[in-house]
Every structure is written in structure tokens, then in C-alpha cells.
């Protein structure tokens, strides 16, 4: 994948490759900077296949970092810069991060991560002059800015081939621990080639980079732009919490292509003052990660009438595997309530299997969606069992090895017999602002609190953010917790998008006749307590919600 940058640097050395606030690097500069970084990593001991952490806020350097690691032959592992140290430490332990590229704020957290078992030994801090002393990290090695600048900027001979790993993205795991999805160079390149061809990306294009690097939407922004030798405009963190600023960025940067989760786009429609912006340069709006509520999509199409809109679909394990171009009839008042996920990308096959294990060929029949082709990931890092459960031999191929991934998503065919419609999940995974959340992972954090005897977390569907999380716990005998203590506890262990808004304490959890937690009843209790809820709810053990 690093050849995407190398080629662009030969073709368009003077064109801006990446912009962040008022700073920018041309392709020539990005190539040189990433070559220096790659050499520094190699000097720090990084060899082919070594995992290298990226623990920094979005910046020019975050883009440079992915190339530097891949050029050194390493596998990049983005650590959520907003997540608690304990989560970064877990990931570092899980995939053996010995070397990490960090900005100053995160470099300062490395000693704390090491105390929690992270095997980090070298911190590469390309933009600051940091030392072991300033970090209070006697047993580590810090490479600061001046050391990287002394490296040769000429091209690096990269030892990898396309079936080697390029990166590992950690996503929520149902058993309480994040799991690392392994993506090979070929996996991502297949998607990138498809995207550049399908959307006709070219060097005049200016793309946003909205999604953080640990979220797989980012690969389109970074690599499709590089293949097209276009310009990627890195959107600063938190900018979306003032939606009008994001709309300003679209306008001022003359963005032509943008790829975001629907909840951010919905926020722009609702609070971005889009009608007072000149968005005439925007030709392509892509979205993925969750269902786009039609009322906001209609608003967006109205605000950006000149653009084409595409719904892309695919879990991290498959990259994008289906796509659907939004048509007028999808937005009509009598349109079905949700947008199709469409048909398979070229060079990818998707199929659905019904409950009896037969492939679905007729419209209307429900089943689980499976994906096969070169965009399917190699599995979960260090977890062959989990890998074997989801990445299976294609049921309909017994002549050769052919891996298919079972998405867990329930789908059916539309009346045309070739367009897929997404219906829901067959497990407890939900989406909030496009992020995957396994409710079991949040529950296991609650269970780890000493005062908690039983815990359940439910997701309440919400138009703007996808889902809102609410927790319910039963306390251990004689245990007590202060107001807000459990939410604060979750924040220490989970990224903010996984923290329940409220955690209610009940005398007991409602159960079904088979003894399972009655989740629909818990969802009902939350909805009843919300403003505009419908009358008094069923109530449980006489405990109302406060």
C-alpha cells in the first residue's frame, strides 16, 4: 500500500497530499517524511510483520505515520486517542506493541500503559523533542524530532508483499475484550482499486478525512485519495461537535468527496446551517456504518443537490462489500423506510443463507449475509477460535479452500431479486454513531465493579445517533454506589461511545420465562421514562426509573 504514496509522489510531487488546519504537505514532502520515519522505525528494531502502535490525535503526522510503519515493513495498529489508557494497554498487550508512534500528550501516557502491562519499549515522537527523562520513563527509549530529521529521506525498500498484514483494527468484542481484525495489503487494496474506479476519483479531488484511523472508514480517505493523487483534508477532532464548523470546512476547503457516518451527516442537516453554505464543489457524498434515517438524508440531498449519494455497507472484517446509489425513488414519501445496502461490489460476492442453511434466491426470505472475495480480512489477531467461528469455508464450495465471512447481519432480497435490504442483527451488537458496540463488552465492565451483582445494557434506537445505551444493574448485598459512580467507572474502562448514558439500579432484572434477561422490557422502561414516552410502563418489581 505504501506504493500508492510513492506513485503519487512521482506523478504529482508538488500537489498537496494532506492538509490539517493551516498546514499542508505535498506528496513530495509526505513521501520524504514517511521515508525518514520508516528508517527511524527500522533503527528502533521494527522488522517485517512487527505491530507498531499509532497513538496520536489527527494531524499531518497521523497520515505520515501509517505510511512510515508500512514502509518499515510493520503492521500499523491505531489506538483510539480518546480512549482510556487501560484500553490502549490491553491492545498493546494483545498484539505485542513494542514500538509506538505518539504525539506528546500520548507519549506522556506510555509509562502508565506500561504499568498496565503494555510491552512498549520505544516511543517515536516525530514532532516533539522528548526524552526518557521528560517522560519519567527510565527503562524505555524515546526518539524525538531531531533524531528523525537526521534520517535519509530517500525511498525505502519495503520488504512486504500483498498478502502480508497492513494493519489491525480493534473493534468491540462480545466477551468483554476488543478483538483485532487483521487486514492484509491486498484486502485493503482491492477495496481502494474498486473505490477509485467506481467513483472516478482523480487528482483534482479533495476528500475529507473525518473518521479516526482506528475506524475502517478512514482507509478510503487516506488510500483512495493517495491512489488518485488527490488531496486529503484531515478534519480536526471534535470539530463535529459544532456542526456549522464542519460545514464551513466543506465550503472553505472546496471539498469534492466526503465519507462520513450518517449520524454526523444528520447532525449537519439539523444544526449545520447548510443552506447558508456554498457546497457546489461537493460532487460525491458517501456514507456507511449505520442506517441513514430518510428524513435527514432527504434534507442532505436538498442541501447538496449537485452531488451523488452512495450507501456503502460492510463490517470491518470485509471492508466495503455492497453499495447502493441513492435514487429519487428511495427518497419518495412512499419509499420503504430504509435505504437498501445494494449489491455486491465488483470482484466481491455476497450471499445470504436461511435458517436451514440454504442460499436465498427469492425476494422476501430472511437470512444471514455472507461475504467472499479478496476484501475479506484474515481473521482476528491471536484468536483462532473466534476466527474459525466467523471466517468459514464457503458452504457451497467443496473443491478448494474458499473463506467466507458470516456478518451476523440479517438481510433479504428486494423485489428486483438483486438488491439487498438490511433488516437487523442476530446478536447483541449495536451501532452508535457508526461504531460497533457489543453490549456484552459493556456488561462485562459493569460486572467487574465490585458492587455489581447483575448487569444488563440495552440499546434504545435513536434517529440521530443510531442507538443510545442504558445500563441496568442489581447491586450486591449491602453494596452501595454514589450517584454517577458506575458511569464514571465505565468511562475509565471504555471509549466514550460505549459508555451508557444512565445506569439504573433495580431490585432485580426482569427475566423471561426461560430465565434470560428480558431486554425488550428494559428498553420499554427507558422509553417510558423518556419525554414523549407512552404512558406508564410495565414497571419491574415496583422500581421506577429516576
Amino acid at each position: 500500500m505504501s506504493h500508492l504514496l510513492q506513485n503519487a509522489a512521482q506523478l504529482e510531487p508538488e500537489r498537496p497530499a494532506v492538509r490539517y488546519l493551516d498546514a499542508e504537505w505535498t506528496y513530495g514532502e509526505l513521501e520524504s517524511q514517511s521515508n525518514r520515519l520508516a528508517r527511524a522505525l527500522q533503527e528502533a528494531g521494527v522488522r517485517k510483520g512487527d505491530r507498531v502502535g499509532l497513538w496520536l490525535n489527527k494531524s499531518l503526522m497521523s497520515i505520515c505515520g501509517v505510511y512510515g510503519i508500512m514502509k518499515a515493513g510493520g503492521v500499523y495498529v491505531p489506538l483510539d486517542p480518546q480512549a482510556p489508557v487501560s484500553r490502549a494497554a490491553y491492545i498493546a498487550r494483545d498484539c505485542g506493541l513494542r514500538v509506538v508512534i505518539a504525539d506528546e500528550a500520548h507519549a506522556r501516557q506510555v509509562p502508565a500503559a506500561c504499568k498496565q502491562g503494555a510491552p512498549m519499549r520505544v516511543v517515536v515522537c516525530p514532532e516533539q523533542e522528548l526524552t526518557e527523562e521528560t517522560l519519567g520513563w527510565a527503562d524505555g527509549l524515546v526518539l524525538g524530532r531531531s533524531e528523525i530529521l537526521t534520517m535519509d529521506s530517500g525511498s525505502v525498500e519495503t520488504p512486504t508483499i500483498e498478502s502480508d498484514l497492513a494493519y489491525i483494527l480493534y473493534t468491540s468484542g462480545s466477551t468483554g475484550r476488543p478483538k483485532g481484525v487483521m487486514i492484509a495489503h491486498r484486502t485493503c487494496l482491492t477495496f481502494i482499486h474498486w473505490a477509485v474506479d467506481t467513483f472516478g476519483l482523480r487528482s483534482e479531488d479533495r476528500m475529507t478525512s473525518m473518521a479516526p484511523l482506528h475506524f475502517d472508514l478512514s482507509t478510503f480517505d487516506v488510500y483512495a485519495t493517495a491512489k488518485a493523487a488527490g488531496t486529503v483534508v484531515v478534519v480536526p477532532e471534535r470539530l463535529a461537535s459544532l456542526p456549522v464548523k464542519l460545514a464551513d470546512l466543506w465550503q472553505e476547503e472546496r471539498i469534492t468527496v466526503t465519507y462520513m457516518v450518517p449520524s454526523i451527516l444528520s447532525l449537519l442537516v439539523q444544526y449545520g446551517r447548510l443552506e447558508s453554505h456554498d457546497l457546489s464543489s461537493l460532487r460525491l457524498v458517501l456514507f456507511a456504518g449505520e442506517v441513514f434515517p430518510l428524513k435527514y438524508l432527504r434534507g442532505l440531498v436538498k442541501a447538496v443537490p449537485g452531488a451523488q449519494f452512495f450507501n456503502l455497507y460492510g463490517p470491518t472484517e470485509t471492508n466495503v462489500c455492497t453499495y447502493h446509489r441513492v435514487r429519487g425513488e428511495d427518497l419518495a414519501e412512499d419509499a420503504p423506510s430504509s435505504l437498501p445496502i445494494g449489491r455486491a461490489c465488483e470482484n466481491t460476492e455476497v450471499f445470504a443463507v436461511d435458517e436451514t442453511g440454504k442460499p436465498i434466491t427469492k425476494p422476501g426470505v430472511e437470512g444471514e449475509l455472507w461475504v467472499r472475495g479478496p476484501t475479506v480480512a484474515l481473521g482476528y489477531w491471536g484468536d483462532p477460535e473466534k476466527t474459525a467461528r466467523s471466517f468459514r469455508q464457503n458452504l457451497f464450495q467443496d473443491c478448494f479452500r474458499d473463506v467466507a465471512y458470516g456478518t451476523g447481519d440479517i438481510v433479504k432480497l428486494a423485489d428486483d431479486g438483486r438488491t439487498w435490504l438490511f433488516l437487523g442483527r442476530r446478536d447483541h451488537m449495536v451501532k452508535c454513531r457508526g461504531y460497533r458496540i457489543e453490549l456484552g463488552e459493556v456488561e462485562s465492565v459493569l460486572y467487574s465493579h465490585e458492587a455489581v451483582k447483575e448487569a444488563a445494557v440495552v440499546a434504545v434506537p435513536d434517529d440521530l445517533v443510531g442507538n443510545r445505551l442504558f445500563g441496568f444493574v442489581v447491586l450486591a448485598d449491602n453494596a452501595g454506589v454514589a450517584h454517577g459512580e458506575l458511569v464514571a467507572f465505565c468511562r475509565i474502562h471504555l471509549p466514550s461511545y460505549m459508555v451508557p448514558e444512565k445506569i439504573h439500579i433495580l431490585g432485580e432484572l426482569p427475566k423471561t420465562s426461560t430465565g434470560k434477561v428480558n431486554r425488550p422490557e428494559l428498553v420499554g422502561m427507558v422509553q417510558t421514562a423518556m419525554p414523549g414516552g407512552h404512558g406508564p410502563g410495565p414497571g419491574t418489581s415496583g422500581v421506577g426509573l429516576v
Binding site: 480518546q82 480536526p236 477532532e237 471534535r238 470539530l239 463535529a240 461537535s241 459544532l242 456542526p243 456549522v244 464548523k245 449520524s263 454526523i264 447532525l267 439539523q270 444544526y271 449545520g272 446551517r273 452508535c432 454513531r433 440521530l464 445517533v465 450517584h483 454517577g484 459512580e485 458511569v487 464514571a488 465505565c490 468511562r491 466514550s496 461511545y497 459508555v499 448514558e501 444512565k502 419525554p531
Partner: protein
């Protein structure tokens, strides 16, 4: 002072979940370098609409009204006064 402390408490307890003890009146709440992310903004808007029975529209959510706790307090107080009149 009442509105201001209610909003401050909501942000501190419900959004920041106890990671901070108090907010300065001129601290940046939203946008780059702000305390809230996009989900935090949505929850804040919902809280304001429910608690103060006001409507927050597209044009209201800018730095001039939501930038800091001071501005937000002034916005809510003005909106309540104009809605009541």
C-alpha cells in the same frame, strides 16, 4: 446563576461523568478543542429543550450561543424570556 449551575452540573455529571469538578465560564465547550463531542452536543441540546421548554433550531447552534458556558447560559435565559413573552 440558577440556569448556569444547572447546565454546568448536567455537563459535569451526565456528559463528562465526573472526570472534571467544575467548568470555567469561558472554557470552550464545542468545536475544535472543546469538551464535548458530537454525542455530547446532542445530549446537551436535548437537556436544554426538555429542562427549559425551549426549541433549539439549526441557526442557534453556533459558537455565539454554544461556545462557552457563559454564552450558553445567556442564550437559554434570552430564549426563555422571549418564549415566555
Amino acid at each position: 446563576m440558577h440556569v448556569r449551575s444547572q447546565i454546568e452540573q448536567f455537563i459535569l455529571v451526565e456528559i463528562l461523568a465526573g472526570s472534571r469538578e467544575r467548568l470555567e465560564g469561558d472554557e470552550r465547550l464545542v468545536g475544535m478543542g472543546g469538551l464535548l463531542d458530537s454525542l455530547g452536543l446532542l445530549r446537551l441540546i436535548q437537556f436544554l429543550e426538555e429542562t427549559y421548554a425551549i426549541h433549539v433550531g439549526d441557526g442557534d447552534v453556533g459558537e455565539e450561543n454554544f461556545g462557552t458556558l457563559e454564552r450558553l447560559t445567556a442564550f437559554v435565559e434570552n430564549r426563555r424570556a422571549s418564549d415566555a413573552s
